[in-house]
Chain length 354, copies 4
């Protein structure tokens, strides 16, 4: 109930603070017999890790995952998969300046409100470092999903919006740029924007769009655990996310039903896909697509006024090496959380019929 687990049948539990000994997790419920490509898992971790380009944080951390159980001779055994990523960057002195200070729009004060105690080093448990564990589990989920593909990409940075739909893009090029936008011209603009923002000691928000193809019809539980409801929760559980929409999304709320309905072809596919691949909470076999909004990172290098535990005003200034824009590194996290949701529902669907 303390909320460190995700999923029902394919279930991830994570632990770890940003500056503790290690972060890690347990995947329970991965079926036996899955031959794992461990390189693919590390590859997804590398897509998330700090220091990978000049538009992300310059912290250096190798983020190497070590598997401790549940895999025998390269194949999952059905028993829990324990894994860990050792924290190489545990210098707690960097953070002594925030021990008594509540950084604006961080979780410092709310953790104190909730727990009465907090590991203040680097954000502790509230650090986005925790998402590395999600990427490990998501990368395994992707392999379970087999030919279902999950592709996310940066669809906006600040006011720079990619005004093409996903089907007009070559998503195989997403990783060609550090900003992970599959439109070369826009990628250039976004990169420029992020560098500009960094130079100003500021940060900027953005959105990630995600597309899931080859989903079999019939995934999702119809009432509370609608497939898109679980996707929404998955996305909103990622640090810095402020919004989620799928299919026609907020724009759909402006439309008429006669225009919004997806008419059928004779083969059961639909002529349009404003439904976003899900009807009544259950996948219909069309592409699932959704968009996730990320606020700008709260740690800015500009001086800001804030308070300390005692309620006294003081001026603080972000130190260290923070992301000017979280979106490029969020792309694999979005994919991972989507993969966890899909893997869970793929297993759940096995019990829908006798």
């Amino acid at each position: 109930m303390a909320g460190n687990s995700f999923g029902t049948l394919f279930k991830l539990t994570t632990y770890g603070e940003s500056h503790g000994i290690a972060i890690g997790g347990v995947i329970d419920g991965c079926p036996a017999g899955l031959e794992l490509n461990l390189e693919a898992i590390q590859h997804d971790l590398d897509r998330r890790k700090p220091g990978q380009s000049n538009i992300v944080t310059q912290r250096k951390e190798s983020d190497t995952v070590q598997f401790l159980s549940g895999i025998f001779e390269g194949v999952t055994t059905g028993t829990p998969i324990g894994f860990q990523i050792v924290n190489e960057n545990q210098k707690s002195r960097d953070y002594s300046h925030i021990k008594e200070t509540y950084r604006p729009s961080h979780a410092d004060k709310t953790y104190d409100d909730k727990y009465g105690i907090r590991d203040y080093r680097g954000g502790g448990r509230s650090s986005a470092r925790e998402t590395a564990c999600r990427v490990v589990a998501g990368a395994i989920a992707k392999q379970l999903l087999n030919n279902i593909t999950i592709q996310a990409y940066t669809s906006s940075v600040g006011n720079l919006h990619l005004n093409t739909t996903y089907d007009q893009l070559d998503l195989s090029t997403t990783d060609d740029t550090a900003v992970r936008c599959p439109d070369a011209a826009m990628a250039k603009e976004m990169t420029h924007k992020i560098l500009e923002v960094r130079k100003a000691g500021d940060t900027i928000g953005g959105t990630v769009t995600c597309v899931i193809k080859n989903v079999p019809a019939g995934l999702g539980e119809p009432v509370f655990d609608k497939l898109h409801a679980d996707l929404a929760k998955a996305m909103l559980s990622i640090n810095a996310v402020k919004g989620f929409e799928y299919g026609s999304g907020f724009h759909g709320a402006t439309m008429n039903g006669s225009a919004h309905n997806d008419l059928y072809n004779e083969d059961g596919t639909t002529q349009t896909n404003l439904s976003g691949g899900i009807q009544g909470g259950i996948s219909n076999g069309m592409d699932i697509y959704f968009k996730v909004a990320f606020k700008p990172v709260a740690t800015v290098i500009q001086p800001q006024e804030t308070i300390n535990k005692a309620g006294e005003k003081l001026t603080m200034q972000g130190k260290g090496r923070h992301d000017p824009c979280v979106v490029p590194r969020a792309v694999p996290i979005v994919e991972s959380m989507a993969a966890l949701v899909l893997a869970d529902h793929l297993l759940r669907a096995r019990t829908s019929k006798i």
Copy 2:
């Protein structure tokens, strides 16, 4: 795992099809000793029920809730609260025309895909009638929440957007109009729009905004069960919802961190509230607010081409008495789901500290 339960400590399980004998549910985990105002519960149900005005479906159904257990001499006993709402409107003949037909953008086909069988009468389990049970449970949750207030209202219909923030509105007037928009002029426009759409045999989407006040700091679990992640799931689990945003939402994704950060006052409140009352997944005591997008109702009275089970094309036309716009009746549903989330986290917070 079949997804008909919501919540962890304050938990609702629902059952029932739109044209079965009854719909109902079980609330497990409501603490003992809560003196219930049963009229307030029925009042919320009445806000949701069909036939309440000329801009909603003209179906007549009294939607009277009957409590079967868990309440003794007006007070909750801590044991499960069973309840039911008898379906008065069980004429299955009305729906024979859709027995073999898949209505566009409904769940007919996906239910068949998932289960291989479906109660086709009036949408069966996929009918929004199920949400009446959520309103019953939500109304009880509201009473548990005590002085936490949850107020939702219609913030847009089609392209008619209420361009004022919630704090500029008198939310006590929401129910003064059938459309539930607390701005009289806009309410008039919206009502006109809905009547126009109905006349055309069409439907229209809209948004509901919800504000939660007096939330104690410290609610929410920090990783997967962030307070806003649970709100997102709650909202996306409501029929016809396509999107969710809280605090600065999608707009926040266009902003810079220096502008987005909520600076502290000395008393721990914040000068702005782009965070939407939640930081790091935990409430900070400021107002929680969010917006929910509803697509237009899929049942239109205009003729549409579709297919049947055999994959043959045919033309169908919506019959019966459907909502031209789901939003006015969705207002109490949004509030109810928010109340369920808050009640659950209020109880969960009791175990955060020794």
Copy 3:
């Protein structure tokens, strides 16, 4: 978390007090496509109901189950199966004498300790009447289990022990006697004993043995949710149960390993079955068998000294029509709980392998 649900994938939630309007439940997760024999369900309820013979309580209650959802044209639809049993016997005046009194070895005082309030009429939620809902769900589970058979019987009453193992008995004769012992001579003795005890205004304990045949190998989760651990919990959750043993049980604790080990035949069956059909928490295809101990019913007609809420001593005397021995009516309850465990693990086993 309030503990009114049982199972994970095949999940029963119950509600209801003995003297409320109705008791009932929701079965979530029953796969779609199961053609239900409703008579068989009512038949199991009749095996549990009061008044069925002269050795059980003489209360009259028809215990007729009504299904409210989840079944369409006789077949499960995969949506939750709501059901209820109306309480015909709601005379609360019978119980006014216990409003302020704590009956010895009942749950009166502990309910007050826990909740600070209690529906004192007839035991309220602590009444074994709640088990009728388990029988409904168990009877559906039995049908899902197909050719797995679950047969329980009375194996002792007081010191009258059936000293034959289950394979020496004809279990098809269990219901031939009201006491449900499949050995005619012993059944006679037991019946005599119960009538004697009743006459003395007393009650007596006993045991139920249960045998499950045709279980496929591979059911059960190996660590915490071992098949026998879930059976143990299921049995101990039944009112009045004090003990559980499976396979060699407590006797096995006196044995040497060389004698206890079940040696294999070439076909993978075992020559003996001290393991009780389960090894490492997973079924091995041999018969599962276990024994459940029931204490004597606490309500005795003899006068007893006790206390009231104020801590004052007083003498009370059981009124009404109570069971002199709970075991005969417990037989279908034991079977039902076993069926719920098996059905749940049958579904869980569907995700063990890719």
Copy 4:
């Protein structure tokens, strides 16, 4: 659902195979603010570890626990407590002889039945080595339980039964003997018996009795999650356990109600305690006590006939250093599982009332 988690609010998830890199776990839901005595945790681990005396396995393994998260400056932070115990003893060659062989009364064949694959080294996940993680979590739970004491001891080995009740024993002397029987004369006999059995290349079963004192009234959920039902499941989930009884247990099934009822004193305590401290599934403040039956260890050094995967008969002989009697090392495991159940219900009880 794969069954590697235990508890609801105080929840342990474990991972690890006996001959993998490490075993470990995550404790989620331990409230913040608990000052941990780490030595006490290691002390309980040492009570369980192999090689501690001449009547247990002579394997040497230090079983040192390392905490990775959730503890800051010696105090729990409310975030998940990750921990691991590195396997020092990973020589897989010792087990090559069982790769294709199914050992009698082990889980070799059932794991293959369930998963189609198995880490055969030392029993893999089915090894009782997994219980070390339970001891870590249980030792933390004990500290959360504060002045509730949990004391287990060896109450029988084979046919040597300790025929005194727990209140006649000085439980502080339990650990004075390697066999953990708090009766010096009986301890001597038991030790002799175990050494004799070991010499014969055989093994022997036994029982553990456990007493829990100072439990506040009101713990336990009344229907499916009765306090004793959760204790039963906890105990049956321990390797080699075949039975559980609490309070009057199986003997209670032979008694009359008039003799079995626990009459009240004026202060609400009871004159006798055949109820075992629990009534209606809820603790009543009296001592909770129960007994657990352990079968003899299946690995015997004597040659035994068995089969291999191909179904061919062969003779095998246990190698290595196995426990002749599991009971002495099981004592801390029983305590730990009891502590997990109590800690969970202690937290659950926080939401029983408004």
